[in-house]
Protein backbone atom coordinates (compact mmCIF):
# COMPACT_ATOMS: atom_id res chain seq x y z
CA UNK A 1 0.00 0.00 0.00
CA UNK A 2 1.60 3.25 -1.10
CA UNK A 3 -0.28 5.53 1.28
CA UNK A 4 0.78 3.67 4.41
CA UNK A 5 2.38 6.00 6.92
CA UNK A 6 4.67 5.29 9.82
CA UNK A 7 2.90 6.13 13.08
CA UNK A 8 4.67 6.20 16.42
CA UNK A 9 2.78 6.49 19.68
CA UNK A 10 5.10 7.92 22.34
CA UNK A 11 4.19 7.03 25.92
CA UNK A 12 6.03 8.91 28.66
CA UNK A 13 3.73 8.86 31.69
CA UNK A 14 3.09 6.33 34.44
CA UNK A 15 -0.35 4.67 34.27
CA UNK A 16 -3.39 5.21 36.50
CA UNK A 17 -2.53 8.66 37.94
CA UNK A 18 -3.61 10.43 34.75
CA UNK A 19 -5.68 9.37 31.75
CA UNK A 20 -2.78 9.56 29.24
CA UNK A 21 -1.83 5.86 29.20
CA UNK A 22 -5.40 4.63 28.73
CA UNK A 23 -6.16 7.28 26.11
CA UNK A 24 -3.06 6.29 24.18
CA UNK A 25 -4.04 2.64 24.26
CA UNK A 26 -7.55 3.40 23.02
CA UNK A 27 -6.25 5.52 20.16
CA UNK A 28 -3.84 2.72 19.22
CA UNK A 29 -6.68 0.16 19.17
CA UNK A 30 -8.99 2.39 17.16
CA UNK A 31 -6.17 3.47 14.84
CA UNK A 32 -5.30 -0.18 14.19
CA UNK A 33 -8.36 -0.40 11.94
CA UNK A 34 -6.63 1.92 9.46
CA UNK A 35 -3.82 -0.57 8.78
CA UNK A 36 -0.89 1.80 9.04
CA UNK A 37 2.69 1.00 10.02
CA UNK A 38 2.34 1.36 13.78
CA UNK A 39 5.01 1.35 16.48
CA UNK A 40 4.77 2.12 20.18
CA UNK A 41 7.52 3.76 22.23
CA UNK A 42 7.74 3.66 26.01
CA UNK A 43 10.23 5.95 27.70
CA UNK A 44 10.61 8.03 30.87
CA UNK A 45 7.79 7.10 33.31
CA UNK A 46 5.93 5.49 30.40
CA UNK A 47 7.91 2.30 31.02
CA UNK A 48 5.76 1.74 34.11
CA UNK A 49 2.78 1.10 31.82
CA UNK A 50 4.27 -2.26 30.85
CA UNK A 51 5.12 -3.48 34.36
CA UNK A 52 3.67 -6.90 35.07
CA UNK A 53 1.27 -7.73 37.88
CA UNK A 54 -0.45 -4.35 38.06
CA UNK A 55 -3.39 -4.63 40.46
CA UNK A 56 -5.72 -1.65 40.55
CA UNK A 57 -8.64 -2.90 42.64
CA UNK A 58 -7.37 -0.96 45.65
CA UNK A 59 -7.58 2.38 43.83
CA UNK A 60 -10.94 1.64 42.23
CA UNK A 61 -9.97 2.00 38.58
CA UNK A 62 -10.12 -0.51 35.75
CA UNK A 63 -6.87 -2.34 35.18
CA UNK A 64 -6.15 -1.93 31.48
CA UNK A 65 -2.68 -3.49 31.68
CA UNK A 66 -3.88 -6.85 30.22
CA UNK A 67 -4.99 -4.99 27.09
CA UNK A 68 -1.35 -4.49 26.05
CA UNK A 69 -1.07 -8.24 25.61
CA UNK A 70 -3.89 -8.11 23.02
CA UNK A 71 -1.97 -5.65 20.82
CA UNK A 72 -0.60 -8.50 18.70
CA UNK A 73 -4.18 -9.41 17.71
CA UNK A 74 -4.52 -5.83 16.46
CA UNK A 75 -1.37 -6.21 14.33
CA UNK A 76 0.64 -3.92 16.59
CA UNK A 77 3.94 -5.77 16.61
CA UNK A 78 6.63 -3.18 17.32
CA UNK A 79 6.95 -2.03 20.92
CA UNK A 80 10.14 -0.17 21.77
CA UNK A 81 11.16 0.37 25.40
CA UNK A 82 14.05 2.66 26.27
CA UNK A 83 16.86 1.01 28.23
CA UNK A 84 18.02 4.20 30.01
CA UNK A 85 14.48 4.94 31.20
CA UNK A 86 14.27 1.44 32.71
CA UNK A 87 17.70 1.72 34.34
CA UNK A 88 17.05 5.18 35.81
CA UNK A 89 14.01 3.68 37.54
CA UNK A 90 15.78 0.57 38.77
CA UNK A 91 13.85 -1.61 36.34
CA UNK A 92 14.90 -4.25 33.85
CA UNK A 93 13.30 -6.19 31.02
CA UNK A 94 12.32 -8.90 33.53
CA UNK A 95 9.93 -6.45 35.21
CA UNK A 96 7.94 -6.03 31.99
CA UNK A 97 4.95 -8.11 30.94
CA UNK A 98 5.32 -10.46 28.01
CA UNK A 99 3.75 -9.19 24.79
CA UNK A 100 3.82 -11.43 21.75
CA UNK A 101 2.43 -11.46 18.22
CA UNK A 102 2.04 -14.21 15.65
CA UNK A 103 3.56 -14.22 12.19
CA UNK A 104 1.76 -15.58 9.13
CA UNK A 105 2.79 -19.13 10.10
CA UNK A 106 1.16 -18.64 13.52
CA UNK A 107 4.55 -18.63 15.19
CA UNK A 108 4.87 -16.40 18.25
CA UNK A 109 7.42 -13.61 18.48
CA UNK A 110 8.25 -11.17 21.25
CA UNK A 111 6.86 -7.72 20.41
CA UNK A 112 8.96 -5.82 22.94
CA UNK A 113 12.39 -4.60 21.94
CA UNK A 114 14.64 -2.83 24.43
CA UNK A 115 16.53 -0.03 22.68
CA UNK A 116 19.02 2.53 23.92
CA UNK A 117 18.34 6.26 23.85
CA UNK A 118 20.29 6.89 20.64
CA UNK A 119 18.33 4.18 18.83
CA UNK A 120 15.07 5.56 20.23
CA UNK A 121 15.96 8.97 18.79
CA UNK A 122 16.53 7.35 15.39
CA UNK A 123 13.23 5.47 15.59
CA UNK A 124 11.44 8.75 16.32
CA UNK A 125 13.21 10.52 13.47
CA UNK A 126 12.16 7.81 11.01
CA UNK A 127 8.40 8.33 11.54
CA UNK A 128 5.88 10.20 9.43
CA UNK A 129 3.58 10.98 12.37
CA UNK A 130 4.24 11.07 16.10
CA UNK A 131 1.41 11.03 18.62
CA UNK A 132 2.46 12.00 22.15
CA UNK A 133 0.87 10.85 25.38
Amino acid sequence: MSDTKRFLYVNRKAPHGTIYALESLEVVLIGAAFEQDVSLAFLDDGVFQLIKKQATTGIGVKNFAPVYRALGDYDVKKIFVERESLEERGLSEDDLMEIVHEDDEEEEHNSIEIVDRARMAEIMAAQDVILSF
Binding site: A32, P66, A70
Partner: protein
Protein backbone atom coordinates in the same frame (compact mmCIF):
# COMPACT_ATOMS: atom_id res chain seq x y z
CA UNK B 1 -32.44 1.49 30.28
CA UNK B 2 -32.05 -1.78 32.18
CA UNK B 3 -33.26 -5.34 32.42
CA UNK B 4 -35.79 -6.90 34.77
CA UNK B 5 -34.33 -10.19 35.86
CA UNK B 6 -35.32 -12.38 38.80
CA UNK B 7 -37.14 -9.49 40.46
CA UNK B 8 -34.04 -7.31 40.17
CA UNK B 9 -33.38 -4.23 38.09
CA UNK B 10 -30.10 -4.77 36.21
CA UNK B 11 -28.61 -1.46 35.06
CA UNK B 12 -27.56 -0.92 31.45
CA UNK B 13 -26.51 2.06 29.36
CA UNK B 14 -28.80 3.66 26.77
CA UNK B 15 -27.75 1.11 24.16
CA UNK B 16 -28.40 -1.86 26.42
CA UNK B 17 -24.85 -2.74 27.46
CA UNK B 18 -24.61 -3.85 31.09
CA UNK B 19 -23.21 -1.21 33.44
CA UNK B 20 -21.76 -3.79 35.82
CA UNK B 21 -20.15 -6.74 34.06
CA UNK B 22 -20.19 -8.85 37.20
CA UNK B 23 -24.00 -8.96 37.14
CA UNK B 24 -23.99 -11.09 33.99
CA UNK B 25 -25.24 -14.67 34.02
CA UNK B 26 -26.47 -17.02 31.28
CA UNK B 27 -30.16 -16.40 32.06
CA UNK B 28 -29.65 -12.67 31.81
CA UNK B 29 -27.90 -13.28 28.50
CA UNK B 30 -31.07 -14.98 27.21
CA UNK B 31 -33.09 -11.95 28.29
CA UNK B 32 -30.75 -9.55 26.49
CA UNK B 33 -30.81 -11.81 23.43
CA UNK B 34 -34.60 -11.72 23.45
CA UNK B 35 -34.47 -7.92 23.41
CA UNK B 36 -32.09 -8.16 20.46
CA UNK B 37 -34.43 -10.61 18.72
CA UNK B 38 -31.72 -13.25 18.69
CA UNK B 39 -32.77 -16.84 19.40
CA UNK B 40 -29.78 -18.33 21.16
CA UNK B 41 -28.44 -21.66 19.83
CA UNK B 42 -25.25 -23.57 20.62
CA UNK B 43 -23.56 -21.67 17.80
CA UNK B 44 -24.53 -18.34 19.38
CA UNK B 45 -23.20 -19.50 22.73
CA UNK B 46 -19.88 -20.52 21.18
CA UNK B 47 -19.34 -16.92 20.10
CA UNK B 48 -20.66 -15.38 23.32
CA UNK B 49 -18.53 -17.68 25.48
CA UNK B 50 -15.51 -16.97 23.34
CA UNK B 51 -16.00 -13.21 23.82
CA UNK B 52 -16.25 -13.66 27.58
CA UNK B 53 -13.04 -15.70 27.64
CA UNK B 54 -11.27 -13.10 25.53
CA UNK B 55 -12.44 -10.32 27.83
CA UNK B 56 -11.40 -12.27 30.89
CA UNK B 57 -7.90 -12.66 29.49
CA UNK B 58 -7.36 -9.22 27.93
CA UNK B 59 -9.93 -6.92 29.58
CA UNK B 60 -11.16 -5.80 26.19
CA UNK B 61 -13.99 -6.67 23.82
CA UNK B 62 -12.25 -7.46 20.53
CA UNK B 63 -12.93 -5.54 17.33
CA UNK B 64 -14.71 -7.58 14.66
CA UNK B 65 -11.62 -8.40 12.58
CA UNK B 66 -9.80 -9.48 15.74
CA UNK B 67 -12.79 -11.63 16.65
CA UNK B 68 -12.93 -13.36 13.25
CA UNK B 69 -9.18 -14.01 13.29
CA UNK B 70 -9.31 -15.51 16.79
CA UNK B 71 -12.45 -17.54 16.07
CA UNK B 72 -10.86 -19.00 12.96
CA UNK B 73 -8.04 -20.32 15.08
CA UNK B 74 -10.35 -21.75 17.70
CA UNK B 75 -13.40 -22.95 15.77
CA UNK B 76 -12.14 -23.22 12.22
CA UNK B 77 -12.67 -21.48 8.91
CA UNK B 78 -16.44 -21.96 8.43
CA UNK B 79 -17.32 -20.68 11.90
CA UNK B 80 -15.34 -17.48 11.56
CA UNK B 81 -16.51 -15.85 8.34
CA UNK B 82 -18.28 -12.51 8.45
CA UNK B 83 -21.30 -14.15 6.83
CA UNK B 84 -21.51 -16.87 9.47
CA UNK B 85 -21.29 -14.30 12.25
CA UNK B 86 -23.78 -11.90 10.66
CA UNK B 87 -26.21 -14.80 10.17
CA UNK B 88 -26.02 -15.42 13.91
CA UNK B 89 -26.01 -11.74 14.93
CA UNK B 90 -27.65 -9.71 12.14
CA UNK B 91 -27.01 -6.31 13.75
CA UNK B 92 -23.27 -6.89 13.96
CA UNK B 93 -21.52 -9.72 15.75
CA UNK B 94 -19.19 -7.54 17.78
CA UNK B 95 -21.97 -5.23 18.92
CA UNK B 96 -24.80 -7.71 19.46
CA UNK B 97 -22.76 -10.64 20.72
CA UNK B 98 -20.83 -8.39 23.11
CA UNK B 99 -24.07 -7.01 24.49
CA UNK B 100 -25.42 -10.51 25.08
CA UNK B 101 -22.09 -11.50 26.64
CA UNK B 102 -22.44 -8.62 29.09
CA UNK B 103 -19.33 -6.86 27.79
CA UNK B 104 -18.83 -3.19 26.94
CA UNK B 105 -19.14 -2.06 23.34
CA UNK B 106 -15.93 -3.04 21.52
CA UNK B 107 -13.20 -0.43 21.33
CA UNK B 108 -12.49 0.52 17.76
CA UNK B 109 -15.93 -0.55 16.65
CA UNK B 110 -16.48 1.70 13.64
Amino acid sequence: MGYQWNGQEIAADEEGYLTDLSQWNPELALLIAEDEKVAMTDEHWEVVNFLREYYDEYQIAPAIRVLTKALKKKLGEEKSTNKYLYDLFPYGPAKQACKIAGLPKPTGCV
